[in-house]
Structure formats: structure tokens, C-alpha cells
């Protein structure tokens, strides 16, 4: 099978959607941030200028415009660029987009995709490093996808664009250059189906987005020490494949969570709570969370690394639960 970068797979997914469904409309062009591959998005926009809208710097206005357009027959895929900018649009996202279908008693649908680049990209400091997926998870009415591989980003995007729900789509900038196998044939990945990224017997790591890649690297080093790690990637937070998480913990008896949200009320806190409520009897050790500390993200590199979830911290947490 051919190999693509994450960025290539992402843009290929967008291209196929534009070319197969005239209702698909792209708002914004920073899907790949300011990374070297950003020209791929520019090329796509040049090929299909009538399908791209380059909005003013008005996140509230253009996200709301996308929501209104989705109710009126379009299927917008909106890019917020850096996740931190989402807060400018939060009133529309949480109070309009998420509520409309429910409030309408099911009459009105909001089929749109909201893309953002989350996480600590390096030097982003406090206002360009957010991972707001837990805030979105705390807002019923939004599907949330967090791909971690080229295969997943394209397959999940296809599903996001075809459902009648609003989907929040978070990518991590540090994933864009990762390579992986992507089939030539059309495919999609259903929401709510976790992927076991690595099979193992000793410890379950539930990881999302970039943390899947860090967990995979950690697992290789731990394997050299005879510790066999299983990595569960939920791929979507909403809907969540709880069964996959619980089944893995039932097998291994140990859980480490690797996620880039802040510690308090983060996605990692929710995974931990689910396992504590529903699989407590299987646990042989306390759950450990490898997450971002509860501080704004500092700029200075050593401080930044100190607060973020790293491969070394994952390795340490796994060693602690198997001791």
C-alpha cells in the first residue's frame, strides 16, 4: 500500500469531498497551520476557488455563518486554525451549533465540520497551545474526532462530512509530517469505534491525537524491558467506544491515560472516571494520568516541556503501575 503524510491524507480527503459533493464548502485555509505542507491546501483552493471562502478575522461571525449555512443546505467545513481562536467563536459553537438539533426537537440539522489545530506546538505559549476538546466534550450535541494517523484522518473526515451532526475535528500540528499507509480506494471510518494501535497484555494506555504516537514510541522502549503495552485510541470522543476501553482494562488490569488536555476535567479525567466506575474490580493498580499540568502553557522551552505530557512521562507512569 502507498504511504502518505498526515497532511497529504488530510488534503486528499478534502479534495475527494469537494469533488464528490457540491454542498461541501470550505471556510478558511489554515488546515495545516503554518507548517511546510500548507501549500497543499493552497493548491486545493486554487483548483476549486468557488468552493473556498476566505473569511474576515471574525471567528464568531464566520463560524456562525457556517452554522446558518449548514441549516440552509450547505455542508461547511470550517477551519479555525489554532484551537485557541475557538474561544472567539465559543458562543456560536456551544450555544448555537451544539443546541440547535436538540432544541428544535429534531427538526433542524447542522451538518458541518469545525476544524482546529490543538495542542502544544512548541513556542505557542498560553494563547496558541490549547487543547479545548474537553470543553467541547462538556457540551452535548457535538461529535468530536481526534485522528492520530494519516489513515485515520482521511477516514474520519469522510464520516464527519457525511453525518448530519456538527463535528469538531482536532488535529495536532506535530502529526502533519507523520507517514502512514493510506489505501487508494475510497474508505471511511465509523465514529465510535476505537482502534487498538498496539496489542499488549500488561498495561492499557488510552491515548488520543499526538499522544498515540508518543505512547507507541514509549511502548517500544517498555517492550525492551519486558513490559507489554496495549494502546487504545478512541479516535472519537463523541461517540466514545467505552467497550473497547473497558475490555482492554479487563484484560490488562492497569490503566495509564495519555492526553493533552489539562489535568482537571480533561479528556483523561473522563477516561479515568469511566474505568473507575465501570471496571474498578479489574484494576490492579491506581489509574495514572499523563496530561498537561493545570497551568497556562509557558513559552520558555524547558518550562513548556515540564508541563506537557511527554514520552518520558508515559514511560514513567507505566513503570509505576506495573511495579
Amino acid at each position: 500500500m502507498r504511504t502518505l503524510t498526515y497532511g497529504q491524507a488530510l488534503v486528499e480527503g478534502l479534495r475527494e469531498l469537494i469533488e464528490s459533493d457540491e454542498r461541501i464548502h470550505i471556510m478558511g485555509q489554515y488546515f495545516l497551520g503554518l507548517t511546510p505542507q500548507r501549500a497543499l491546501v493552497g493548491e486545493l483552493a486554487a483548483e476549486h476557488p468557488s468552493r473556498f471562502y476566505y473569511p474576515p478575522i471574525a471567528e464568531l461571525g464566520y463560524v456562525g455563518t457556517a452554522i446558518g449555512a449548514a441549516m440552509a443546505g450547505l455542508r461547511p467545513i470550517v477551519d479555525l486554525a489554532t484551537a485557541s481562536f475557538m474561544f472567539q467563536a465559543f458562543a456560536q459553537i456551544t450555544n448555537e451549533m451544539a443546541n440547535i438539533h436538540y432544541m428544535s426537537g429534531g427538526q433542524t440539522r447542522v451538518p458541518m465540520v469545525l476544524h482546529f489545530n490543538h495542542g502544544i506546538r512548541g513556542g505557542g505559549a498560553a494563547q496558541h497551545s490549547h487543547s479545548p476538546q474537553a470543553m467541547l466534550w462538556n457540551t452535548p450535541g457535538i461529535e468530536i474526532m481526534l485522528p492520530s494517523t494519516p489513515y485515520d484522518v482521511k477516514g474520519l473526515l469522510k464520516t464527519a462530512a457525511s453525518t448530519d451532526n456538527p463535528t469538531a475535528w482536532g488535529d495536532h500540528v506535530k502529526l502533519f509530517m507523520i507517514e502512514g499507509e493510506v489505501p487508494e480506494d475510497d474508505y471511511s471510518i465509523p465514529f465510535g469505534v476505537a482502534d487498538i494501535k498496539r496489542k499488549g497484555t500488561d498495561v492499557t494506555i488510552v491515548a488520543t491525537s499526538l499522544m498515540v504516537q508518543r505512547a507507541l514510541a514509549a511502548a517500544e522502549k517498555l517492550a525492551a524491558d519486558g513490559i507489554d503495552v496495549e494502546i487504545v485510541d478512541p479516535r472519537t470522543l463523541v461517540p466514545l467506544d467505552e467497550d473497547a476501553i473497558l475490555e482492554s482494562v479487563a484484560k490488562t488490569g492497569r490503566l495509564v491515560v495519555a492526553d493533552e488536555c489539562h489535568r482537571s476535567c480533561g479528556a483523561g479525567a473522563e477516561f479515568s472516571a469511566i474505568v473507575a466506575e465501570k471496571a474498578f474490580g479489574y484494576l490492579k493498580a491506581p489509574i495514572r494520568r499523563v496530561v498537561t499540568e493545570d497551568v497556562p502553557i509557558p513559552f520558555s522551552p524547558p518550562m513548556e516541556e515540564y508541563v506537557e505530557p511527554t514520552e518520558a512521562k508515559i514511560i514513567q507512569a507505566v513503570r509505576e503501575v506495573v511495579d
Binding site: 455563518t65 441549516m71 458562543a91
Partner: protein, 339 residues
């Protein structure tokens, strides 16, 4: 001034205005007997909503606010379903999930109602964006109060609407005018540094029209101009319709301070009580419309009263329907989070 329309169309405006007035009066009476939560009424603004929304066609979309009852009724949503929704019953349009603050009916061109001030301006803009992108000859109407102009969403939305020449009509119902204040030429009472609402529109190059929102003919004419512009690719229009705030409208829980409207006050001024005389004699848009329509010889007072009796009995039946309807099963609260 009456709109330049056929007798049938003017009489239809009358029927709808009376229906909205009686709907609200029944609702206020209902709220006197039981706690139905807080709600907002449209009394005094009927002659803006009725002539404006009467001009819309199937497929056009409207986005309204917390003060939405009159708008939905004007586009034909059945009163009984609205009462049921306002009481949280399963026979309401949304099965009780939204209530008065979020009344919507996709079938009648109301996809959603945001009760967050300024929530709908981007949504209405977006609907027009979709019409343009999909090549549809449809118009989106954003109905909002003067307070929404205080929100940042307003400036972001009109910028997009202006730059893309979108078929969205911003119909601002400025009810910030106090009865006595308006008489004294005082204006406006919104919390805005701008002294004139259209000053918030002019920098974007969108045409503006200011009308007396109690003047059905002026509203009809302004909306006709705006719709013609929107449907012929001319883009957006901002209409400011100035209405007088009804004396009973002050509290969040409105009170029938001026009583149930006695339509005969329109043709017999001796019936007007001293209390709230200015309201009944000069400001009430429905009474004013009645005086105009009678003066024009379009309908007799007996026919008006007969029409009113029919409407009032329909409203009472609607309330009964809502009261007798069941609440939705409590556990169904967990359904419909996602499509």
C-alpha cells in the same frame, strides 16, 4: 398608512394582527394561573411583523429572538402547537425541548431561534451564504431588537453580509422607545454610544431604511424594497422599525396592564379609559391599524368583531389543547442530542 395592497391582503393583515394580539393576551392570562416560566410578548409590534413577514415566500428563512411569538404566528405556525410548546408539552413543535425561548418550525421557515442576544445575526447571514453558494433565489430575514446591535456578533455578521452581497435582510425592531420618551423626541434608550442606530450600519455600505414600525404601509414598503434588492442580487438591507414599548411589557413576566384590547376603542373614543389613554388613543399599533382600515372603508366594525370572536375562540381552544396535552416522557430528555 395602509399598504398598497388588495382588500383581501389588508384584511388578512388584520386577521393576523388580531390573532397575534389575542394569542399573547391569552398567554398572559394563562401565566396568571400557573408558573409557565418567563416569556416575552410582541404586543405593540404586530404591525411590523405582520406586513414584513407576509411578503416572504416558501423557502425563505427567518431567524428571530426571545420575542418570537408574533413572528412565528405571522408565518402560519398553528397557535395550538405554540401554546403546547410554551407549556412544554409533547404536542409542541419541538416536543417541549425548546419552549418559548427557542420556538422554531422548519416547515414555516424558522430553523432555530436563538434567545442569546445577537446569537442569530451570524446564523441569518449564513443561511444567505448558503443560498448564494447553492444558487437559490431565497432570502434570509434576521429579526432582532436594538439590543443585538450592542453585541460584537452584529459587526462581524454585517461585514460578511456586505462583503459577500448576501440576500439577508436585517430587520431591527427598535422597541427601546419609551412611550413618553418618544413623544418628547428622545432617542434611543439602548446602551449605545451611537446616537442613531443606522450609524452602526453605514460604514459597511449596506442601505438603510428607517420606518415607524406601527405604520403597516411603511413597513410593507420598506420590506418590499429590501426583498427586491435581495432577490435581484443587490445584497443586504438594514431596516429599523421603531415601535413603542407596550406599558405591560416592562417585566420579564408581562402583565395585562392595559387589559384585553377592546377593539371598539378604534371607532368609539368614549370607551378609552383615562388610565393608559395615550396607549389606547395613539400608540397601540393594532388599534391604529383598525382606525385606518375602517376609514378606508375596507371592512365594517361588525365584521371585525365577528372575526375577533372567531380568533378568540380559536385561542381559547388552543390553550385547552395545550393544557390537555401530555408532557413528553421524562426519559425522552436523553434523545435527539445528535441526529
Amino acid at each position: 398608512m395602509l399598504a398598497n395592497l388588495s382588500r383581501e391582503q389588508i384584511v388578512e393583515q388584520l386577521r393576523m394582527a388580531l390573532l397575534i394580539r389575542r394569542f399573547e393576551e391569552e398567554l398572559i392570562k394563562l401565566a396568571g394561573d400557573r408558573d409557565i416560566g418567563h416569556f416575552h410578548v410582541y404586543i405593540g409590534q404586530e404591525m411590523t411583523g405582520v406586513p414584513a413577514l407576509q411578503l416572504l415566500q416558501p423557502g425563505d428563512l427567518s431567524f428571530t429572538t426571545h420575542r418570537n411569538h408574533g413572528h412565528l404566528l405571522a408565518r402560519g405556525v398553528p397557535a395550538r402547537q405554540m401554546y403546547a410548546e410554551i407549556l412544554g408539552k409533547e404536542t409542541g413543535m419541538m416536543g417541549g425541548r425548546g419552549g418559548t425561548l427557542h420556538l422554531c418550525s422548519m416547515e414555516h421557515g424558522f430553523p432555530t431561534t436563538s434567545s442569546a442576544v445577537g446569537g442569530a445575526t451570524p446564523l441569518a447571514t449564513g443561511a444567505a451564504f448558503a443560498f448564494k453558494q447553492l444558487g437559490k433565489d431565497r432570502v434570509s430575514v434576521c429579526l432582532f431588537g436594538d439590543g443585538a446591535l450592542e453585541e460584537g456578533s452584529w459587526h462581524e455578521s454585517i461585514n460578511i453580509a456586505a462583503m459577500e452581497r448576501l440576500a439577508v435582510i436585517f430587520l431591527c425592531e427598535n422597541n427601546s422607545l419609551e412611550a413618553l420618551g418618544q413623544k418628547a423626541g428622545e432617542y434611543p434608550s439602548s446602551t449605545l454610544a451611537a446616537t442613531d442606530l443606522i450609524d452602526l450600519v453605514k460604514p459597511f455600505g449596506v442601505p438603510t431604511i428607517q420606518v415607524d414600525g406601527c405604520d403597516s404601509g411603511a413597513v410593507h414598503s420598506a420590506m418590499t424594497t429590501a426583498l427586491d434588492r435581495a432577490r435581484t442580487g443587490g445584497g443586504s438591507t438594514f431596516i429599523e422599525a421603531r415601535t413603542v414599548r407596550w406599558p405591560g411589557n416592562r417585566p420579564i413576566w408581562p402583565a395585562l396592564l392595559t387589559g384585553e384590547t377592546d377593539l371598539a376603542m378604534a371607532w368609539d373614543s368614549s370607551l378609552i379609559p383615562d388610565e393608559h389613554r395615550v396607549w389606547h388613543a395613539e400608540q397601540d399599533a393594532v388599534l391604529r391599524f383598525l382606525r385606518e382600515i375602517i376609514a378606508a372603508g375596507l371592512i365594517e366594525s361588525d365584521a371585525i368583531l365577528a372575526m375577533d370572536r372567531e380568533i378568540r375562540s380559536e385561542m381559547k381552544a388552543g390553550v385547552e389543547f395545550a393544557l390537555e396535552s401530555h408532557y413528553p416522557p421524562a426519559e425522552s430528555a436523553l434523545d435527539l442530542v445528535l441526529a
